[in-house]
């Protein structure tokens, strides 16, 4: 029953994809305008839109060819405005992972503190409540001014947007560790540090991992916007650069790669949460 269902679902996905691509293709064809006669030298400077009346939107097959070009040659470097998609993604991943790991190093210990101590929770709550809803990009000018380095500023923006979900989930996970498990540790005269690592951490780990999964998702959303602002390298800069080149094909292939990498990041964290999950 189960395998048959996944086969059916897979077939349905393929049908939907085909319908979408067909609709896209037809839409592009429908936008075909009249061809204009012009001087061949002038025509060479103009795009196909001017000379053949073609739509600015590429056909699915053109995007497919562009994607294939990127997949087969991901790491070429032909100057600052023409780098392979692999290089751009590597820059973005480096920024996201650095900012994310720094955030984890800060958020998980502070989350432990907040979860364990009601005083700290009350004391830090106003700061968290005010900082949490601030768009991470609002920090960008301040980061650029203080850090004076666009790359580090992007990492800082990732850091600041990853901190909150991890902090809040860690605090919640630690605070909701069952009292009886702590009582077991107390009756066994287990020290505070051993209790933290042997009881509280494994008990709260699934909640902490959920926070990390939310954080990495947000970080991957934010990096595109941050790189559009700081420029130079990264997948966000790539998409913006393709827009400046008026290459919708490039923009669409950028979107596809962003989606694929985001999915892989989420899957990696999902795999990690399975390792620490427990059933009660």
């Amino acid at each position: 029953m189960q395998p048959r269902m996944s086969v059916k679902a897979g077939m349905l996905s393929l049908v939907l994809l085909t319908l979408f691509l067909a609709a896209w293709h037809l839409l592009v064809l429908a936008q075909q305008g009249p061809a204009v006669e012009m001087d061949p030298e002038y025509a060479a400077l103009m795009g196909k839109q001017a000379t053949e009346g073609a739509s600015a939107l590429p056909k699915p097959a053109e995007v497919g060819a562009e994607l294939w070009r990127h997949v087969t040659d991901p790491f070429y470097d032909a100057g600052p405005n023409d780098k392979g998609i692999g290089i751009q993604l590597a820059y973005s991943l480096f920024r996201v992972l650095t900012g994310f790991l720094l955030a984890a190093c800060v958020a998980i210990p502070i989350g432990f503190l907040i979860g364990m101590s009601p005083i700290f929770r009350k004391a830090l709550d106003p700061f968290i409540q005010i900082m949490k809803p601030v768009s991470p990009l609002a920090w960008m000018p301040l980061a650029l001014y203080t850090i004076k380095d666009s790359n580090l500023s992007a990492i800082f923006v990732i850091f600041i947007c990853s901190v909150w979900p991890m902090l809040i989930n860690t605090a919640f996970g630690v605070a909701s560790v069952r009292k009886e498990w702590l009582n077991v540790a107390r009756t066994l005269e287990v020290g505070a540090l051993r209790t933290a690592f042997r009881v509280v951490l494994p008990a709260a780990a699934p909640t902490i991992l959920t926070g990390m999964r939310i954080s990495i998702g947000i970080a991957w959303l934010v990096i595109v916007a941050a790189e559009m602002l700081v420029g130079g390298t990264g997948i966000g800069y790539f998409v913006w650069n393709e827009w400046n080149n008026l290459s919708i094909t490039g923009v669409i292939s950028g979107i596809v790669f962003i989606g694929l990498v985001g999915m892989l990041l989420d899957m990696a964290l999902a795999r990690a949460s399975k390792l620490v999950a427990y059933a009660e």
Partner: protein, 335 residues
């Protein structure tokens, strides 16, 4: 297996014990002295006494049950004995020293088993054993754990996670964990109340045989009369809260070598059962009247021994206040 800390009673240690009919010469492991616990009312302006003036003691190797309705502070009392809660007044003396917090001397079997779901059965026990003997090697720890897994008949289920174990098996792991650290006293908070009747019966028997084998001193909270008669040497009766008191202490008149199958055939079984039932059904509510009319001394709550003798202490005096230190009753023969 070798006997844990609690050994057979030491003889020739005359201790003046006014509570017992015949002076009990065994060492007192736990002395509860004038224990009182108050909780603040929800508005925080005043407080109510859950129980107060609680005095009793537990001798080495003895199995003591505490019976009372819910709300009389049974669990609070056990938490204080475990060191997880602090009394408002009075104190608990364990082996000559007043307690100030939890200790490996006293291990607890929790009502809800309190196993850590991310650890397998044997790892749950190992967590306790490593805490008790941190210097032990990994092999020593696992061998010790295995001994207690075998003791509670869980051989073969060592590596199962709690979620894969039935309710009875989980509580077996909880019991094995509590025994594994070889405590001076084992505290049990209604350990079988969440189990079905059949499982409960077999676990009670296992506990009985383990205690007989190890001479473990035990204190157990229950509201099950049959459980108390089967397991306990001494049953402490607690009146209804708030302001609960120890009403009296009932000595089990059944021979110690009793089993679930033959306990109810003993002539003293029904006198015991009726006495306890009478207490739970009516006396536990009206105790304040007994207090004002009788010569109740909280330091020495009356000790009764219900038997099937001519002067049936349990059944015939039903409903009447039990006068303290009634010498006639103590003279009753066992049969």
């Amino acid at each position: 297996m070798t006997a844990p800390l609690a050994k057979t009673p030491k003889r020739g240690e005359p201790i003046g014990d006014l509570m017992s009919p015949a002076p009990d010469t065994r060492k007192k492991i736990i002395q509860v002295e004038g224990l009182e616990r108050r909780f603040a009312t929800p508005d925080g302006k005043s407080n109510t006494q859950v129980f107060g003036d609680v005095w009793f003691s537990i001798h080495e190797g003895e199995f003591v049950c505490l019976i009372g309705h819910s709300g009389c502070g049974k669990t609070t009392l056990l938490n204080i004995l475990a060191g997880l809660d602090a009394p408002t007044a009075g104190g608990v003396i364990v082996d000559g020293k007043e307690i100030s917090g939890p200790s490996l001397d006293r291990s607890v079997v929790f009502q809800s088993h309190a196993l850590m779901p991310w650890l397998s059965a044997i790892k749950n026990i190992a967590f306790a054993v490593e805490s008790r003997w941190p210097q032990w090697s990994r092999k020593q720890v696992l061998d010790h754990c295995q001994k207690y897994i075998d003791l509670v008949h869980l051989t073969g289920s060592e590596s199962k996670k709690p979620v894969q174990l039935s309710g009875g098996m989980k509580q077996r792991v909880g019991i094995a964990r509590a025994f594994s650290i070889e405590p001076k006293i084992l505290l049990m908070d209604e350990p079988f109340s969440a189990l079905d009747a059949l499982t409960r019966g077999s676990l009670q028997e296992e506990l009985l045989s383990i205690c007989a084998e190890t001479h473990q001193t035990c204190f157990m909270i229950t509201h099950d009369i049959d459980e108390a008669i089967l397991l306990a040497d001494k049953i402490v009766l607690m009146t209804n809260g708030p302001e609960a008191r120890v009403c009296e202490i009932v000595e089990n008149t059944l021979p110690r070598e009793r089993t679930r199958q033959d306990a109810y055939t003993h002539p003293n079984y029904y006198p015991m059962r009726n006495h306890l039932m009478e207490f739970l059904v009516s006396r536990s509510k009206r105790f304040s009247q007994e207090l004002s009319s009788g010569s109740y001394d909280p330091r020495y709550p009356p000790v009764v021994r219900p038997t099937a003798g001519p002067r049936d202490a349990g059944a015939s005096k039903a409903g009447e206040p039990q006068p303290a230190q009634d010498g006639a009753k103590y003279g009753d023969p066992l049969r």
